[in-house]
Symmetry: C2
Subunit: 204 residues, 2 copies
């Protein structure tokens, strides 16, 4: 399979402002495909199938696992979450930058499978305290969810060194400027030929 | 030692156009320090001490090796070539981007010592044949030197996969645009705190 695109993995605590940063930067980073996860959990109010997630049954998900249709997947709080290979490969074949918003386990799995075309950034508020302030300010989650997000964040921050870049989201403008550089750098891995092929062609 | 700068290592065959690309990009990449190598070989016509190289005696060089004053060094065709730590650390402390034009062995040594603040790019003409054409066109080297450069290039290309980026110098304009992105990405590693310190500060 000739893949012409490149992958940009974004991780970081829920509430880090990943979507806001991508939106603020989107005019500058060229055409990209934002990878939509597949999940077995129920849609929440306002969530749309094919926009927020692909919502599938547990049976469908487990069949796709067996068929090897996932780039990565995990079970979290009893629900499956995963990235289907098909739309990702399609976007890569179209030469697009594929952006993932996945957790640290997902990052490790993508790295393991597509390291040569992958760039990654860990996006986070300046401190845990600031994360908590932001999570409470947006008033979308109940106390239990907020506490779980904070507990997750405390664990996830330990993996920051596994990422190519760290983007501290202090102000959206600065973070978006950094994100634009990261996205452009990720695109430079686009069309990276298989190393051995490149060397053979180069030698002539 | 608190290092505020970042390192950008450039490697690639002599004749790849590294200097031309840096010059074409220099207005866009902010303040940088171009690392000057130290060597025991004799200056060639037109070469200036402190500009092209720091020219030193074999005795001085070997004393500096013993004193641990080199970031990296190697012996090539009977002469020593190396990078003194002092000006590099000075530039890093001033928050500058330090650009190295060193070979693949040098890259490995810099990676081993300063991986967390290092970005690297392999710069090369599109093919070996094109490299040969360019080396002959510039009329600065005699046949023996050209043949040695080609032989070296054939070896060095095999290390291309060790670099964060490959920049194919087809046209100077395109290569310079790519170099600007790489240099900006390299700067994002600037002020990267020690990972453990960052995590502790983040947790509060």
């Amino acid at each position: 399979m000739m893949q012409k695109g490149a992958i940009l993995v974004l991780s970081g605590p829920s509430g880090a402002g990943k979507s806001t940063i991508i939106n603020a930067a989107s005019d500058e980073i060229g055409e990209y495909y934002f990878s939509i996860s597949t999940t077995t959990r129920d849609p929440r109010m306002g969530e749309q199938d094919g926009v927020d997630y692909f919502f599938v049954s547990k049976k469908e998900f487990e069949e796709d696992i067996k068929a090897g249709n996932f780039l990565e997947y995990a079970q979290v709080h009893g629900n499956y979450y995963g990235t289907s290979l098909k739309p990702v490969n399609q976007a890569l074949e179209q030469g697009k930058l594929v952006i993932f918003d996945i957790d640290i386990q997902g990052h490790r799995l993508v790295r393991a499978k597509m390291d040569d075309i992958t760039t990654s950034a860990f996006i986070t508020p300046p401190t845990l305290k600031e994360l908590e302030t932001r999570l409470r300010a947006r008033c979308t989650d109940d106390e239990e969810v907020i506490l779980r997000r904070i507990a997750n964040a405390k664990e996830e921050i330990r993996a920051v060194g596994e990422y190519d870049f760290t983007i501290i989201n202090d102000t959206v403008e600065e973070a978006a400027q950094k994100f634009i550089i990261v996205a452009k750098a990720a695109r430079l891995k686009q069309s990276r030929e298989d190393e051995e092929k490149f060397i053979q062609r180069w030698l002539g």
